[in-house]
C-alpha cells in the first residue's frame, strides 16, 4: 500500500480560501474514533482522492448525528445534535453528502429534512457504484479473483432504506465469487448493534446476535465477509473471533476492498 501523504481538506479551510466542495464526506463517530473504523475512513478518503473528487470533511466541526440518542428514546439529545449539525451544514451551503455509516446516512437523509437540513445523501456504496458506472473508478488487479465473499446487509442501509444492489454491484466488480447467506437482503439478520445496542450489554438471552450472524456468514465458507457499516464491522469481527476463525475469515468494509484492489 502506498503511503503518499494526503491532506484531507476541511470545509472551514476551503471556505477560508473562498472555495467549496462538491461533496461532503460525513465521517461519523465510529469513523472518527474507532481504530477499526478509522481504517475504513482512510480507505474512503484514498478513493475520493484517487478519483479526484472535490470533497471535504467537517473535521472538528462534525458532531454525532444523534442516531443512538434518538433510537434510545431521547429525542432532546437527538434534536440538540441535529439542529447544531444542520446549522454547520447550512452555513457551508452543503448540497451533497456521502456517509460511510448507514446510521449517519439514514439520519441525515430521512430525519434532518424536517428539521431544516435537506441534502442529497448517499451511502459510500452508492457513490462507489456511481464512480464505477461513470468509469471514474476502475477496479484493477485480480487480488480478489476467485475469493469467496459474502455480504452482510446493514439494517439501516437495506431494510431501512432499500439499498440492496449498490453494495453487491461494487463487490461483484472485484471478480470475486459473491455468495449469499440464507438470510439476506430484505430478510437479512441484524448484527445486533442497532437501536443503541452497540452501547449497552445485551439483554438476557441464550446467544449473542453477532455470534448467530457470524455463524451464518461462515456457513458460506467465505474468505471475506464484506460489510458497509462500522458497527456491523465490529460485531462480525467479534463474531468471527468467537469461533476463532480470524486467521482464515476476514471482515472488510467494501471501501477497503476497493482501495486494496486499486493498491491505494
Amino acid at each position: 500500500m502506498s503511503t503518499t501523504p494526503i491532506k484531507v481538506p476541511t470545509m472551514a479551510a476551503l471556505a477560508a480560501a473562498g472555495e467549496t466542495a462538491d461533496i461532503l464526506f460525513w465521517v461519523g463517530c465510529a469513523g472518527s474514533f474507532d481504530d477499526r473504523a478509522k481504517k475504513v475512513t482512510k480507505a474512503v478518503v484514498k478513493i475520493l482522492h484517487h478519483v479526484g473528487l472535490k470533497y471535504a470533511i467537517l473535521g472538528t466541526e462534525e458532531s454525532c448525528t444523534g442516531d443512538p440518542a434518538k433510537r434510545a428514546g431521547n429525542e432532546f439529545y437527538f434534536q440538540m445534535q441535529a439542529l447544531q449539525n444542520i446549522q454547520v451544514l447550512n452555513m457551508y451551503g452543503v448540497k451533497k453528502i456521502v456517509a460511510a455509516c448507514p446510521h449517519c446516512f439514514n439520519t441525515l437523509k430521512n430525519e434532518y429534512p424536517e428539521l431544516g437540513g435537506t441534502y442529497e445523501v448517499v451511502h459510500h456504496s452508492q457513490l462507489l457504484q456511481q464512480l464505477m458506472d461513470e468509469g471514474k473508478l476502475k477496479v484493477a488487479g485480480g487480488s480478489f479473483k476467485g475469493k469467496k465473499i459474502t455480504y452482510h446487509d446493514p439494517c439501516y442501509l437495506g431494510r431501512a432504506n432499500g439499498v440492496y444492489e449498490a453494495p453487491r454491484d461494487v463487490i461483484s466488480k472485484l471478480d470475486a465469487e459473491l455468495t449469499e447467506m440464507k438470510r439476506s437482503k430484505a430478510k437479512g439478520l441484524c448484527c445486533g448493534a442497532g437501536g443503541a445496542q452497540m452501547f449497552k450489554e445485551a439483554e438476557k438471552g441464550n446467544k449473542e446476535v453477532n455470534v448467530e450472524r457470524a455463524e451464518e456468514a461462515m456457513g458460506t465458507n467465505p474468505d471475506i465477509i464484506a460489510v458497509g457499516c462500522p458497527f456491523c464491522n465490529t460485531m462480525l469481527t467479534d463474531g468471527v473471533k468467537h469461533f476463532e476463525k480470524e486467521a482464515t475469515v476476514k471482515v472488510y468494509d467494501m471501501a477497503e476492498l476497493i482501495a486494496q484492489a486499486n493498491e491505494l
Binding site: 501523504p5 494526503i6 491532506k7 484531507v8 476541511t10 465521517v27 463517530c29 472518527s32 474514533f33 478509522k38 482512510k42 470533511i57 473535521g59 472538528t60 462534525e62 458532531s63 454525532c64 440518542a69 434518538k70 433510537r71 434510545a72 428514546g73 431521547n74 429525542e75 432532546f76 439529545y77 434534536q79 440538540m80 447544531q84 446549522q87 439514514n106 437523509k109 430521512n110 430525519e111 424536517e114 428539521l115 439494517c155 431494510r159 431501512a160 432504506n161 432499500g162 430478510k187 439478520l189 445486533g192 448493534a193 442497532g194 437501536g195 443503541a196 452497540m198 452501547f199 449497552k200 450489554e201 445485551a202 439483554e203 438476557k204 438471552g205 446467544k207 449473542e208 446476535v209 448467530e212
Partner: protein
C-alpha cells in the same frame, strides 16, 4: 314459514351485534393520538391492493402462502353462494337463483361458480387440516412462544375447526341436494363436480333422511357463517377486515425514518439560540394538557398503532425474524402488538363500565410490556418487513422507550453514559471533540 322467521331474526341480530362490536373497536382505536395519514391516495390504494388483497407479503413463505390462499379465496368466493343461501332462508325457497337463471347463459355461470366454490372448499378443507397439524402436531416454533399460551392458541384452533365445520356443512347440503335431485324431489342443477361424487355415499339413504341432512347442512352453514361473524371481533381473525384499512394507512416513508417530536424542536431551538426571546413564545395555556413525550399507555400511541394492534393476525412472522427473539431474549414483537390490543380492550371495557375518565392504575408500559423487552430491540425493522399486514411494532417500542427515557429517566446505566457523552463531547464515546479529525492528521504524514 317458522324457519324463515327464525332465520331472519337470527340474521338481523347477528348483524346488529357485529355492528355494535365494530363501533366499540372503532371507538377504542380513536382513543389514540391523531396522525394525518390522508395524503397519497393512489399509493395507499396500490399498497392495499398489493398487500391485503393480493397477499404479496405472504409469498415470502410459500407453503403457508398457498394454504392460506386457498382459505382466503374460498372465503371470498363462498360469499357469492351465500347470497342464494340467504335469499332461500328468508323466502323459504330452494335454490331460488337457479330457478331464475336455469337454461340461460347465466345458468352456466351459476354452475361454474358453484363448482368453483366446491373445488376451493375442498382445497380449503385440506389447507385447514394442514394448518391444524402445523400448530398441534408439527408444532412449529412460532406458534409455541409464551404469548401464544392459552386463549391465542385456542382462538386459532377454534377458527380452524369452525372452517372444517363450514365446509362439511356446505358439502353435506350440496351432496344431499344432488341425491334428492336424482330422486326427483328437487329441481335438477347441472353437474356439481364434488357433491355429485359425495352423493354416491348417500345411496340407500331414505328421502326423509336426505331432506333432514340437507337442512342440517343449510342451517349449519348459515349459523356457522353468522357465528363466525359474531365471533370475529373477539379474535385475531378480525384481520380479515382490518387488513384492508391497515395496509391502506401503511407507513409510506423509508422504514428507517422515525418521527421527529415537534414539541421538542421548539424547546431545543430556544435552548440553542442565545438571542431567542423567551417571551416571544406565547405564554403556555394553563388549561392545555401538559406535553407528554413518548407513550406510557395506549392512548399515548397513535390511532394507527392501535389499528395495528387490532389487525394483528398473531402469525408470529415478526417474532420469528426478530434477532432479539431468535437469540432467546424476552422481546417478541408479536407480544408487543398483542399486549397493546389486550390493554386497549381493558381500557375500552373500563370506559364502558366506569366512564371516560376512569383510571385503573395500570398502563401498557410496566404492567404489560417490561423494560427488559424494550431494551432488547435493535431497531432492525425485520419485524416491520416480515408483517403480512404492514404492522409496525418498532414504532410502539420506540414510543415506549421515549416515555422511559424522557418522562421517567429510566435507562440502563450504559445508555445514560452514552447519552451524556453525546451531550458533552458530541460522540457516544468519551473522546474529546478536538480529536475527531486525528485520523486525517495520520494520513498527512
Amino acid at each position: 314459514m317458522i324457519g324463515a322467521i327464525i332465520f331472519v331474526v337470527v340474521f338481523i341480530s347477528s348483524f346488529a351485534f357485529f355492528t355494535f362490536k365494530i363501533l366499540k373497536i372503532r371507538r377504542n382505536i380513536l382513543l389514540g393520538q391523531n396522525v394525518n395519514l390522508s395524503g397519497n391516495k393512489g399509493e395507499r390504494l396500490k399498497t392495499m391492493l398489493m398487500v391485503a388483497f393480493g397477499q404479496s407479503k405472504m409469498t415470502a413463505r410459500p407453503v403457508p402462502f398457498i394454504l392460506h390462499f386457498f382459505i382466503y379465496a374460498a372465503f371470498i368466493i363462498t360469499q357469492i353462494e351465500l347470497i342464494e343461501i340467504v335469499i332461500d332462508g328468508a323466502t323459504d325457497h330452494h335454490r331460488s337463483i337457479w330457478h331464475i337463471v336455469e337454461g340461460s347463459f347465466l345458468g352456466s355461470i351459476y354452475t361454474f361458480t358453484i363448482n368453483f366454490i366446491e373445488i376451493l372448499s375442498v382445497l380449503a378443507f385440506v389447507a385447514t387440516i394442514l394448518f391444524l397439524s402445523r400448530r398441534n402436531i408439527i408444532r412449529l416454533a412460532r406458534f409455541q412462544k409464551p404469548e401464544m399460551k392459552g386463549w391465542p392458541s385456542r382462538d386459532a384452533n377454534l377458527i380452524l375447526f369452525g372452517e372444517i365445520t363450514l365446509v362439511t356443512c356446505i358439502m353435506l347440503m350440496n351432496s344431499s341436494d344432488v341425491a334428492l335431485q336424482t330422486m326427483g324431489v328437487f329441481q335438477r342443477t347441472d353437474t356439481l363436480l364434488v357433491s355429485s361424487q359425495l352423493a354416491k355415499l348417500w345411496e340407500g339413504v331414505s328421502m326423509d333422511n336426505l331432506m333432514l341432512m340437507e337442512r342440517i347442512g343449510w342451517w349449519g352453514h348459515m349459523l356457522g357463517i353468522l357465528g363466525f361473524m359474531v365471533y370475529l371481533p373477539f379474535s385475531k381473525h378480525f384481520h380479515i377486515f382490518l387488513a384492508f384499512p391497515n395496509t391502506y394507512f401503511s407507513n409510506l416513508k423509508p422504514k428507517g425514518q422515525l418521527t421527529n417530536l415537534s414539541a421538542v424542536t421548539a424547546e431545543v431551538k430556544l435552548m440553542l439560540d442565545p438571542n431567542a426571546d423567551p417571551y416571544a413564545v406565547p405564554a403556555p395555556d394553563p388549561n392545555a394538557a401538559p406535553v407528554k413525550f413518548g407513550a406510557k399507555d395506549v392512548h399515548d400511541l397513535t390511532w394507527k398503532n392501535l389499528m395495528d394492534a387490532y389487525s394483528c393476525t398473531e402469525c408470529g412472522r415478526c417474532t420469528s425474524e426478530c434477532p432479539a427473539n431468535i437469540t432467546g431474549k424476552k422481546l417478541s414483537p408479536r407480544k408487543i402488538m398483542m399486549d397493546t390490543r389486550d390493554r386497549l380492550e381493558v381500557v375500552g371495557k373500563n370506559i364502558d363500565k366506569h366512564g371516560k375518565d376512569h383510571k385503573d392504575g395500570k398502563s401498557l408500559l410496566g404492567d404489560y410490556i417490561t423494560e427488559e423487552e424494550l431494551w432488547a430491540c435493535t431497531s432492525c425493522n425485520a419485524c416491520v418487513q416480515a408483517c403480512p399486514v404492514n404492522i409496525n411494532p418498532l414504532e410502539v417500542i420506540i414510543e415506549l422507550r421515549r416515555d422511559l427515557i424522557m418522562e421517567q429517566s429510566k435507562a440502563p446505566s450504559s445508555i445514560n453514559t452514552m447519552l451524556n457523552n453525546i451531550q458533552n463531547n458530541g460522540a457516544p464515546w468519551q473522546f474529546s471533540p478536538m480529536d475527531r479529525a486525528n485520523w486525517a492528521q495520520e494520513m498527512n504524514t
